[in-house]
């Protein structure tokens, strides 16, 4: 199956690969996986005092579409408030990357990852 040009671009030049210290209170970490394909995705956000996502990093082991979905997502969430980031839908990612139907689950994984990262941050900052 041929990947779209946008998927290839993110796959070959992934943005924001890396990690933050997950113990840091301004960091939210989302860990999600898709057992059926063995994919693992770690997505982290660094949130400032105004509740704006200042920076985002990811590490994904999976197919090109999963890497591209998480790479794109880290670009999108930077500068957004937590509330705005929650609004991002997997369908937005799938559309932007022109994912074929069999790869839609990769964009779902990315949406789950950002939701998990936000939930982790909120749990930490609330505690």
């Amino acid at each position: 199956m041929a990947y779209s040009a946008k998927v290839l671009d993110h796959y070959e030049n992934p943005r924001n690969v890396g990690s933050f210290n997950k113990e840091d209170h301004s960091v939210g970490t989302g860990m999600v996986g898709a057992p059926a394909c063995g994919d693992v995705m770690k997505l982290q956000i660094k949130v400032n005092e105004e509740g704006v996502i200042e920076d985002a990093k990811f590490k994904t082991y999976g197919c090109g579409s999963a890497i591209a979905s998480s790479s794109l997502l880290t670009e999108w969430v930077k500068g957004k408030t937590l509330e705005e980031a929650t609004q991002i839908k997997n369908s937005d990612i799938a559309e932007e990357l022109a994912l074929p139907p069999v790869k839609i689950h990769c964009s779902v994984l990315a949406e789950d990852a950002i939701k998990a990262a936000i939930a982790d941050y909120q749990k930490k900052s609330g505690a």
């Binding site: 996986g33 394909c37 693992v40």
Partner: protein, 176 residues
């Protein structure tokens, strides 16, 4: 007599529904059955019977492929027992996933350091041990109706380990 097409894969081969099965027994039964329904035997039979033999042969093939592989065998037993494979409660927890990422990182380091060697061999040994341990747990859990959700969670974890093993072997193959 019940049509072979509606029998579950285990009873098709006359085997009990369980994770542990004797490979030789499965393969022997498969060969017997496959030769009994081979379409060549029906070359002179009525069209109806010829079609039937092809269908049954395909069914036996599918059953054999499903039961031969440990992962698909577990999946099939879970389905037989009515377990919802998509149940999110059984998703691996973040710590497990974090550990998986660390394993992948180790694998990248090994690859960057030139591929196979004792480190890769140790890793494969370690992964294989995890697989054996998980499969043993799952075999027991599948026998107990109250432990099916645990079996599903371990099945989900097992898929990651098989994936790791596959990648470790790919690294090994590259230099061989």
């Amino acid at each position: 007599m019940q049509s072979p097409l509606t029998k579950d894969f285990f009873s098709l081969f006359g085997l009990p529904v369980a994770f542990h099965l004797a490979d030789e027994e499965l393969t022997a039964r498969y060969r017997e059955m496959q030769s009994a329904v081979h379409p060549d035997r029906y070359a002179n039979a009525a069209l109806q019977e010829q079609r039937m033999s092809i269908q049954v042969a395909a069914h036996i093939n599918e059953a054999y492929q499903t039961l031969k592989n440990p992962l698909s065998r577990i999946r099939y037993i879970l389905e037989l027992k009515g377990v919802d494979l998509q149940d999110r409660e059984a998703a691996p927890d973040p710590d497990f996933l974090m550990r998986q990422i660390e394993w992948r990182e180790t694998m990248e380091e090994i690859q960057a350091a030139g591929g196979p060697g004792s480190r890769l061999a140790d890793l494969v040994k370690e992964i294989t041990a995890y697989i054996a341990e998980l499969q043993e747990k799952i075999a027991g859990e599948l026998e107990d109706e109250t432990l099916l959700s645990a079996a599903l969670r371990h099945y989900n974890e097992l898929q990651y380990f098989y994936r790791l093993l596959e990648e470790a072997r790919d690294i090994g193959d590259m230099v061989d």
